[in-house]
Amino acid sequence: MSNRRNKLNWLNVYAVVYMVFLYAPVVLLPIFAFNSSTIIAFPLSGFTTEWFGVLWTTEALHNAVRNSMLVSVSTAIISTVLGLFAARAVARYTFPFQRGIMGLVMLPLVLPEIIIAVSLLIVLIQLGLSLSLWTVVLGHVLICTPFSIAVLSSAFRGLDPSMEEASFDLGETHWGTFRRVTFPLVMPGVISSLLITFTISLDEFIIAFFLTGTDVTLPVYIWSQLRFPAKLPSIMALGTILLALTVVLLILAEFFRRRSATRRGLDASTTEGLI
């Protein structure tokens, strides 16, 4: 009996230590963002918001943010639309070579990004296309679509097939059925997909680094700034803003998912969600 309790205690200790080890660096980010010293080390020297002010006046950063927003929003929309079609096809129809085709579509999930980046770079150069933010979008759509399909497939699996049939039976067209029934019912999945693909694209570095031309995305910009020690605190401030933004986005997404689950008469806490 006491032996068993001991074992459990050690497991708890291990879990807590593991969590601290994983998340402590994230907590350091906001701490040093408000620290007045340019050296990232304890003890803290004083409180300041100066580094946030620096961000406000750095033109190159603003460009990087704009570029990243363009890439991430485009990627999120394109890969979610593609994921929507693919997930519905897989959920509703059987077609020749279904498994093979789906395997190929989902492959980027397990393929090393460096390989995707290098091979895409070679192909694009061979085709004579110039590198730009749109080639980054292309690469990001490739790696984001499998995530979108995975999220939306579970949304379609939870959808009673007779919902679509009922709409069609009541005189609605296929497109009207999609617009009035299918899309609203998989909406939580769509929001989840948009959010996940947006986040993946926003912090993706390797593909963005290889495939971009003169315009850099935010992660590439941050990487380029790490060479200058004086810029480190403002990078910390930037990281803090991104962290806060991500948390807000996740809370928002979960809020929407729960509300829609309640509207569908499901118990929000027992249904599959992002969190």
Partner: protein, 370 residues
């Protein structure tokens, strides 16, 4: 066919040699039948008999492999579900959970672009028809199972279809509610006068609700008749044992006169059956079995020989249901016991296993089979 109910009614659906194959599996093996305008028609059979496939083909969700389906004098080949004069009540009801009750009911009507006032009035009328007046603004997911079913019905009826198709609509409800909905559905069908086609595996439900029933096995219609005819004159053993309970006894024809066929029946002895009691096309030498319903036999308790014929046996089991008692009785000269049901009228004693029972029956309650 002996059926004479509404012979004047015109045909609303004509099924002509309809077959359906899924790969190498033949789900329907040639269905030919006519469904009349305004009747309550049931497709009854065990699961996997093809009844739901047939319903889905009438709705337009599946195409027949061969054969034609004609609805309201129009051949349906190439016409999709959204252009057919049929509307369906799904087994899961398929109520749109993101819409209000009123928006669910008015879903199909929206496409017709009625003036707003007309639309509202029609939705209210449809809701009132299914006793859900005032439920319009509610969210669909707050409804109970029975209410969902009513919404599904209202949503179909508001389209004023020629035919309403019901796919096991009562199977998700509990027994009490199901009994109540059976009667309500029947009354509703009578009052709107629209043809209803019901798919069910519940023989009792089919008997209670239908004008006519098609009993299906293995992708074929075995018998199409009124509930009474199905129960009293099943065409074969399979139909007989699917509809209610039937005791089967071995039998053999021993002779035939101008008016009667003489049978030698296991345990019951010599019985004369008029020629009219034989199904069409059956010769006396084809008879190998007879059937007797449990309620067609009586256990004579008080000893008065009030039945046409009497045989004796031993009670092997007694099942007391309150209003009825079901006995298993091993008749003299028979291995397997027969089932006999008795109404528990005032003062009637209930026999215990082991007691001797005197069983009375009338020869005209005997049904012959191949």
């Amino acid at each position: 066919m002996l059926d004479t109910e509404k012979p004047h009614a015109r045909t609303i659906i004509d099924l002509d040699g309809v077959t359906k194959s899924f790969g190498s599996v033949q789900a329907l093996k040639g269905i030919t039948a006519t469904i009349r305008e305004g009747e309550f028609f049931s497709l009854l059979g065990p699961s996997g008999c093809g009844k739901t496939t047939l319903l889905r083909m009438i709705a337009g969700f599946e195409d027949p492999t061969t054969g034609t389906i004609t609805i309201d004098d129009k051949p349906m080949a190439g016409i999709a579900a959204n252009h057919r004069p049929t509307n369906m009540v799904f087994q899961s009801y398929a109520i749109f959970p993101h819409l209000s009750v009123a928006d669910n009911v008015g879903y199909g009507l929206k496409k017709r672009r009625l003036p707003k006032a007309d639309y509202k009035r029609e939705v209210e009328q449809a809701l009132a028809m299914v006793d859900l007046g005032g439920y319009g603004p509610r969210a669909a997911h707050t409804l109970s199972g029975g209410q969902r079913q009513r919404v599904a019905l209202a949503r179909a009826l508001i389209m004023k279809p020629k035919v309403v198709l019901l796919d096991e609509p009562l199977s998700a409800l509990d027994k009490k509610l199901r009994d109540q909905m059976q009667l309500e559905l029947r009354q509703l069908q009578r009052s709107v006068g629209i043809t209803f086609i019901l798919v069910t595996h519940d023989q009792e439900e089919a008997l209670i609700m239908s004008d006519r029933i098609a009993v299906m096995f293995d992708g074929q219609i075995e018998q199409l008749a009124t509930p009474e005819e199905l129960y009293r004159r099943p065409v074969n053993q399979r139909v007989a044992s699917f509809i209610g309970v039937m005791n089967f006894l071995g039998a053999q024809a021993t002779g035939s006169t101008d008016t009667h066929v003489s049978l030698d029946v296991q345990a019951l002895g010599k019985i004369d059956i008029p020629h009219s009691g034989l199904p069409k096309g059956m010769k006396p030498e084809d008879i190998h079995r007879v059937g007797v319903r449990p309620e067609m036999m009586t256990i004579l308790i008080d000893g008065a020989p009030s039945a046409e014929r009497i045989v004796e046996g031993e009670v092997t089991e007694t099942s007391y249901y309150g209003d009825m008692t079901y006995y298993s009785v091993r008749l003299n000269g028979l291995e397997t016991p027969v089932t006999i049901s008795m109404r528990n009228t005032a003062g009637r004693a209930v026999l215990r296993p082991g007691e001797t029972a005197r069983v009375g029956f009338a020869t005209d309650s005997i049904i012959v089979f191949r």
